[in-house]
């Protein structure tokens, strides 16, 4: 549909703008030039990791098409449970109703998030050390895999769907055409855990691990990730519970990815060469 294409283009342009800004601010021209001269040289050593991530994303897409039907049969409908656990946390967050926050958080939730997810690949491909990129690819793969499993096992509607009297659907009320766009990416029955949160937190954790190489990015990614997390609740899309689960998942997947990459690296490199 026309409207959907328009949304995709706008989100894309916003992400590109942010990516360009971050590249200018945080990346090293020398490293970028080396990368640009022969990108495949840099990508090839990581083929297995990137391939794994690509595979997970494909399975993810497949699972998202067929997942809901399976979910209704075997899944556990936890929407009411989540609400009884946390009560009106999101309602309270939404009570801060400053007009400019909706367009700001909408931009963060859509373009900011995409840029946040893409930037690590650009930044880490530009490095000699293969580990950060591999950690990123693995962390993403783990997050998506656990996420999809949860989506099939649980039916979870977000606060804007369960308690519309307390939580307003701020993103979709202000920008109705974005709902179909996000609907292509995920179903409204899959708010637990918040993948926006887990991936953003993962990016922040990865950035913190490379803070010596990219100190500016460590700060920027943390701030952006924090804004994404706030956005998911301010826009009425996620419960605080989804966010907590997302944080655990994000940090956990980076921890596991780091361990796996370290072990592989030690096995293939002389000890003490770090």
């Amino acid at each position: 549909m026309n409207a959907q294409l328009e949304v995709a283009v706008r989100v894309g342009l916003g992400s590109v703008a942010l990516l360009t800004l971050w590249t200018i601010l945080f990346l090293d021209w020398e490293r970028l030039r080396t990368l640009a001269e022969n990108p495949w040289n840099r990508i090839r050593p990581h083929a297995r990791y990137l391939g794994l991530l690509a595979g997970v994303l494909v399975v993810n897409k497949f699972a998202r098409d067929f997942g809901p039907a399976v979910s209704w049969v075997i899944g556990w409908n936890i929407s009411g449970l989540i609400h009884s656990l946390e009560g009106s946390v999101v309602g309270t967050i939404q009570s801060v109703d400053v007009p400019f926050l909706t367009p700001f958080f909408a931009f963060i939730y859509l373009s900011g998030y995409v840029a946040l997810l893409v930037f690590p690949f650009v930044a880490y491909l530009a490095l000699e050390d293969p580990r950060p990129l591999r950690e990123a690819a693995l962390a993403y793969a783990i997050t998506y895999t656990v996420g999809v499993i949860c989506y099939v096992l649980f039916i979870s509607y977000g606060p804007r769907n369960l308690i519309p009297d307390l939580v307003a659907p701020r993103l979709y009320a202000a920008y109705p055409s974005t709902q179909q766009f996000t609907g292509e990416v995920n179903s409204n029955t899959n708010v637990f855990p918040s993948l926006h949160t887990s991936l953003s937190v993962a990016v922040g954790a990865l950035a913190w691990r490379t803070r010596e190489t990219y100190p500016g990015w460590a700060v920027a990614s943390t701030v952006t990730a924090f804004c994404v997390v706030l956005a998911t609740m301010y826009l009425g899309i996620h419960w605080a519970t989804d966010v907590v689960a997302g944080v655990v998942l994000g940090l956990g997947s980076v921890a596991v990815a780091a361990r796996l990459v370290d072990r592989k690296h030690e096995a293939s490199v002389e000890p003490g060469s770090e």
Partner: protein, 612 residues
Amino acid sequence: MTGINPLQRTSRRTFLAGAAAIGTAGCFKGRAATGERADGSTLSLSISTVPADADPMSIRIARFLSLRMKQVGIETSLVPMSRAELAREVLLNRNFDLYVGQFPAYDTPDFLRTLLHSRFTTASGWTNPFGYVDTDIDHLLERQAHQRGSQRDATLRKIQRHVVREQPFSVVAAPEEIRIRRRRDSVDWGDSNYHTVESYLSAARGSSTETDVSGPVDPRDSDDDSTPADSLEVVVTDSRITENLNPLAVPYRTGGPVIDLLYDPLGRQIDGSLRPWLAREWNWTQTDEGVVADVSLREDLTWHDGEPLTAADVTFTFRFLADTSLGELDERVPAQRYRGATTLVQEVTAVDPTRVQITFHTSVRAVAERALTVPLLPAHVWTERTQQSTLSEVAGDRVTTAALTVSNMDPVGSGPLRFESGTAGERLVLAPFDDHFLDREAIPASLDAFGGGFTFERLAFNVVPSTKAAIGLLQEGGADLTGSPLDPRAISEFSATDELVPESRQSNELYHVGYNLRAAPLDDPAFRRALAQLIDKQYLTSEVFADRAVPAASPLATHGSLATSLKWDDGDPVTPFAGDTGTGSLDVEGARATFRDAGYEYTEHGRLIAPQ
């Protein structure tokens, strides 16, 4: 206490665990009927309904009720689920405590018979989902099916008063259905209500056709030859017609016109009376047992796949609706839809290839006519679907056939429109059926408006996720009409323009709270009445429906036979709100007293004790 006995539940879990590859499936399946209590003595109930994305009204009514139930000490949980899943859980699996939903649209008050007669409690579909058993009502319901005129109205009034006193469900409000149409020079819509079979068949090409560039532009058709003016684009918010076109699949039927455009019946209700449609003519005679209809089909009727439509298909349809296994299984598996119609039929025989004789259980022609409106099904397609279905989506111990679960996205009907293409969750495209009888030279005068059948190249339905998105699509020219009723609160910001014309019509699809009477304390009418008094229908009408609805107490609130004592009069006439009507604010002590008067007790912490 649960709505389903423990033995059934165990075998259901085993079934699911086997069906699903994941071993832990059995432990995870959520259950909506939560009559079980956490600590074993206080009452907790669940309310099943659809989320705000599907219908903002239902969930808000459910939220209102759940908050008030909590105020009177009943632990209440809200269980949101998709529309198809809610239909499945309530109408097929009977797995719920309370639900909030709408009745299906009805043509005749005889729908109460299938809704409330006790013979239907163990059946499924819109046949007594409440489990309501009352022999007095049974007699009255049977009696009205044999009466007419003022005598029948009197019986209907008696039924209403009795039913409202018993409260197997609490009617909330009769909504207005609001739709918007885009004015286009190339389309002359005529006078019919928007989004009905009549309006799609009577829509004609307007004065300017080829040169109309203001028609909807669908980027998916950029490679197509036909001009935009050739297609009618409808935007809907319910995706089920893009996923399933099986007339017998209860969870997927929305009450819209699509199935009726694909499948023709013997007769259609047009302008308030039943007109011969696939039938050329019919003759009614009266016997001791009931009326008999001698129906002659039109000549040279065909199905969409070219096969001839004969009397054999008519007898097949009625036999099939009564038992979709055609006797192959140990038990009969009737179609859950069209029960009201098929239970009126005693026998159908083919006299010759174009003539059938139908004998009915009723002696009232007006009631029997209902059976002539069922869609005819092609025998050569549906005889392949009599085997037992083991699809896990069906779940539970109910025996079901492929006929009831198949998605039928390659529908073979005989209707004026046929299936062309579709993308699940997004779009459905229908095209005119060239061999339809409406295309013939000689059609009866009563069907004049539909001469030529569907006059455009295609009729397409596009799915969007919300009312606002639907209006947006209309405004940018991507659609001609909204098919699904729109959210009245979202409409309040919309104002009619020269180009966009709204239409509002009173619907008889009443919003209501349904109770599952199969377990205590919902089997107690006094308890149900006490629950009903927690609903401030006036407040909900203005807050939830933005006043685009009328509060109601009777299931026949919009019908001429509405009992006078049940008319809305500044408050509910039978179960008034236990608080300030119109404000939504509950008199908690007063409400608790009502439960106490009904014989229920409270713990020292103010929680209602579950009956043993």
